[in-house]
Amino acid sequence: MSFETFTEFLLMGGHALYVWLSYGVGLFIILLVYIQPILARRSIIQELAQRQRRDVQNNKVSNEEVAQGNLSQDKGGSE
């Protein structure tokens, strides 16, 4: 270990600002890169599910099991 105490570690030999600023922004960027696709996936799935429901309602004829599953959920199983 190259530091005697925890305070010394935090002070980084007078370079605390530079070191912690770099690692702070680094952590932020890595979290951002990781979280962004998770949020995107959620909104994509919601949008596509909505579109599927709309398609089924427009067609009235549901020839796909998948779509039926969604519709019955949506309208409380009326179909």
Binding site: S22, G26, I30, Y34, R51
Partner: protein, 249 residues
């Protein structure tokens, strides 16, 4: 030789399922290596006799800079595949990798500036290496902008692939700028042919960080490609099944 894997790669469904299986491995191994490398570099690596502790920025700066450049090279390979074989997945990779590449180019520039202040006495100089990295950032922005501006997917994929290939000239400029011109920036830390100038206690955490970055990149690129596949293959039956199963949960 068996070429079926190449045709399979062209199948978004197969790719989606394989990505699902590989993703957690890349993600957790990557995160683990990044944590180990950071703690190792920040706490255990010896301090530099000239730069003191500010040198610890290297453990973030060099891996993100390496990743920023190799991400672009991967995009260039994908661009060729996309132009020649019209493989959809190659184009999806370009769309997915560009924002990640931009993020890590920004991080390399930012940590470089913060490191430059105590070491060179300035945040920024119009040094060849630094300027070429800034050009790389704008190339990434260009690809992202082109992708979002063009509605027609075929046109967008062709245009962005051409832009990526044109921008490849920048990569050797970044790499050799420290040799061609008198720059403030120091030469490469890692080369394939020579031993690093640093002692192993210093470069080993750096190597762990570089490998961790690659794993993390692979994981987030797969996550983004899965999103792209869902969007572009939304009319297929298997995607509809995934959507309806996911919404039930």
């Amino acid at each position: 030789m068996n070429w079926t894997w190449f045709y399979k790669l062209g199948s978004p469904k197969w790719f989606y399922e394989t990505a699902n299986k590989l993703l957690p491995w890349f993600l957790w191994i990557g995160v683990l290596m990044l944590v180990i490398g950071t703690v190792w570099g920040l706490v255990f690596a010896p301090e530099d006799y000239q730069q003191g502790n500010s040198f610890r920025i290297i453990y973030l700066h060099v891996p993100s800079a390496i990743l920023a450049q190799s991400c672009y090279m991967m995009m260039a390979v994908a661009a060729i595949i996309s132009l020649v074989w019209k493989m959809k997945l190659a184009d999806m990779f370009i769309a997915s990798a560009a924002p990640i590449g931009a993020a890590f180019t920004f991080l390399a520039l930012f940590t470089g500036a913060v490191w430059g202040k105590p070491t060179w006495g300035t945040w920024w100089v119009w040094d060849a290496r630094l300027t070429a990295m800034l050009v790389l950032l704008f190339l990434y922005f260009g690809v992202i902008a082109l992708k979002s501006a063009l509605e027609n997917i075929d046109l967008a994929s062709r245009a962005s692939a051409i832009l990526v290939l044109v921008g490849v000239v920048n990569i050797p400029i970044i790499k050799y700028s420290v040799e061609w011109w008198n720059t403030l920036h120091q030469p490469a830390t890692f080369t394939l042919t020579e031993k690093p100038a640093m002692p192993p206690e210093m470069w080993m955490p750096l190597l762990v960080m570089v490998l961790g970055m690659y794993c993390f990149f692979t994981a987030v690129a797969l996550m983004r490609m899965k999103n792209e596949i869902l969007l572009r293959e939304r009319r297929t039956k298997w995607v509809k099944t995934i959507i309806s199963e996911d919404i039930k949960r």
